[in-house]
Symmetry: C2
Subunit: 453 residues, 2 copies
């Protein structure tokens, strides 16, 4: 039984409430590129900061990096992207549509959507030809081939070429890792499904360098691989993704890259026809990348183990997660339509983990008089230095609750006649709908406890 | 009297200690593109987070945004970049060098560096021709003109095209602003000075939308302009840049864009021959950008003031700061070579504001025995969830101090024989060199107080 498809509803909610807008919408949009609005940028920043904290700041064996998008073109020859990062492309000479040869089964003719391409001779399909997915541009004033550079299709290579720079500057010893968050670009032939597959996206990647011949009593490369598989699954669970919507998908022999020793994807069930799809990859890349860079750059990429008096090219265990995909997974996971007891109208609610929610609290004066707005504003001024809060005095309290529910705000604080009398406020919980009456001076501590973890 | 030139020393320190590496260094580098190493990424992240907190999270009248790098090509026709974002370029047919026509005075012939281009007929210079600074790429499978897109040369246009999306989704009322942090790209003919002028860089921009005919008792557009000038200067001072190294530079009539009502740069004195250079611009852009997008998209870009029953295109006050430039300014500002009383060797130190420093504390066991490493590790485990700390047990204490001074670590905690006896540690201050002996259980609170603000 498949979960309901909420993607279309999310596209609409995200635009209306300021999570995600179509890029350059006033010009008809840019193909499969999206802009994060005021709430989306906060949600995604919370996801990225959570990853950075878990993967870099809370560990002594992973170093951070922020390598540039534009790299030397030889990098992509060494990595194999110039020769091998292709999709097979089929054109239709009749209707000018383009298809991926390996996805013809699900395709339909754009001129006659009831028909498959090629059916009954409507389409005139070319033979498949290889189309490189890297965006190409030109550095320097003249468009000659010497100056061709690419927008990186993955952030990983920025880590590999800096392996020894980071290791030496930070005096790290293998095993250790390098992590970075950054944009990557792929000229996808058939992008789609909202922010799931886009031409511009953000990766959070970590490459962990291990000894291919780990000594007795040390973790082997395959043990590190299992370690990181488990760690990464735990991270998604800690963000609040439901356990039953997550699963490992092991790459079969035909899916596995020729240099890879093992590869698992972490898949999330997006619901509807999309179903289970990759949000992260955990890959054992062997010594392929560092070895190729040593070959192509003629620079040694070996690690020198001074204690054991050995030099070697480490194996790499990679964890690669899409920041946009995790953000979309969190929205799908959080979205619910619920009936509310005692009320005729239901509500749409995002059950986001409080620490990830873009707005932490809505602050409502019950009425616009009797000192309630003043007290509400004092509370706003007290909380805003700590995290984003929304002041709202428009419409009924019920309507204001719905507005905050729909964007995942975990707490709503109401200032009523009792508040201005005895200094207490009510705090309503988004998920349980329970209301606590507490002293306004305790609000900081109350919310801090609820938002922790 | 000009300040000493520390740029060359910083390039070396930044590579050696892991702040900034040349991009794709093993392949000979990519022209004027740089990678941030483990310490650089933390420093720059602290700068960006400080900006985001000041400009977005701590205000109710500025909304965040994260627009994509790839935008619809019409955006750059409307903005004027396709027709006007050019540098005049001169080629030399003899030695193939390229020069900016407006910078020939300072240029020298690359084949004969003692001579100026054109001198004594060595060079065969072409007439100046216009060279567009935007990086061009192709979206979709075929390189035809319909699919030409540009890497954005500024983040501002992502804000303008989303003006009404943000205003409506967040129910904002003019005056309000939209802020974003993101990469931009310019195919500079003569980049240089380390990370000061690069082809890939990160901007932190805010566009503040104001009523061109503000009612009695409200701030006028020029008053908002003065407000933001003052706010932005305060921000740089709050980061620790020295007041006497900062100044406003007013754009003269010839520097001013034709649509601009006023423009000031905030300049910082980088020292040496570079001297005072722009790190931020505060610009009154009038209604030019929104007006052009209305014209080119045929979509209304007006704000509807429902109270006053008016509709109008707002004026825009822009604040635009380079994240890389501020980071470089902070490094220049912090760098010092000092003699240390009672020691023959001097020290290199980065006097970074503690809240910006990449590492907050070095933790040193005096010796590798007697329970000191264990106690040091317990302290590391206690502090690491809060902020980055470095454990170091290699070499003399003096050598370890120097290592942390050089990367700006504000505090060094030493565990000595007394520590394992009575539970106290010494905390040494990077700037004053004063040492406090405190109880290890008080360390969290002690450092929190010192790191605040």
């Amino acid at each position: 039984m498949s979960r309901p498809d909420v993607l279309e509803k999310l596209v609409s909610l995200c635009k209306r409430r300021g999570f995600i807008f179509q890029s350059s919408e006033i010009y008809g949009g840019t193909g499969s590129v999206w802009d994060y609005g005021p709430l989306g940028v906060e949600l995604k920043k919370n996801v990225k900061d959570a990853w950075w904290h878990t993967m870099v700041r809370s560990r002594d064996d992973v170093e951070g990096l922020d390598a540039a998008i534009l790299m030397h073109p030889r990098v992509w020859e060494a990595s194999g992207h110039v020769s091998g990062f292709n999709d097979p492309l089929i054109d239709c000479k009749a209707c000018k549509a383009r298809f991926r040869a390996d996805q013809m089964d699900g395709a339909s003719c754009p001129r006659k959507p009831s028909k498959k391409p090629g059916e009954q001779g409507d389409c005139q399909l070319t033979e498949p030809r290889q189309f490189n997915l890297m965006f190409k541009t030109f550095m320097g004033p003249v468009e000659d081939t010497a100056a061709v550079v690419y927008l990186r299709p993955e952030t990983a290579q920025g880590i590999f070429v800096n392996f020894l720079n980071v290791q030496q500057a930070r005096r790290q010893k293998v095993p250790f890792g390098i992590a970075q968050i950054g944009k990557a670009f792929r000229n996808e032939i058939t992008p789609g499904n909202f922010t799931f597959r886009t031409r511009e996206f953000e990766q959070m990647e970590m490459q962990f360098f291990v000894d291919p011949a780990a000594a007795e009593g040390k973790r082997t490369d395959m043990e590190w691989f299992e370690y990181w598989k488990a760690q990464r699954m735990e991270w998604h669970l800690a963000l609040g993704l439901e356990r039953e919507r997550l699963e490992f998908h092991q790459h079969s022999a035909t899916e596995l890259a020729h240099y890879a020793k093992a590869a698992f994807d972490i898949q999330f069930d997006f619901g509807g026809t999309l179903g289970f799809q990759e949000i992260e990859g955990v890959h054992h890349r062997s010594d392929f990348d560092l070895g190729r860079h040593q070959e192509f750059s003629s620079k040694r990429m070996e690690y020198v183990d001074q204690v054991a008096n050995r030099r070697y090219i480490p194996y790499v265990v990679e964890t690669s997660v899409g920041a946009d995909r995790v953000t979309l997974a969190l929205l799908c996971n959080a979205y619910a339509e619920e009936s509310v007891e005692g009320e005729s109208e239901g509500r749409v609610v995002l059950h986001l983990k409080p620490s990830l929610a873009p707005i932490k609290a809505g602050i409502f004066p019950l009425t616009k008089k009797d000192g309630q707005p003043e007290m509400a504003n004092r509370i706003v001024e007290d909380l805003r230095p700590l995290y984003p809060v929304d002041y709202d005095d428009a419409g009924s309290i019920g309507k204001r609750y719905r507005r905050q529910d729909e964007v995942g705000t975990p707490f709503c604080v109401t200032i009523d006649p009792e508040s201005t009398g005895n200094g207490t406020v009510t705090v309503r919980d988004r998920d349980t709908l329970a209301q606590d009456r507490i002293d306004a001076t305790q609000l900081r501590a109350y919310l801090a406890a609820k938002l922790a973890g």
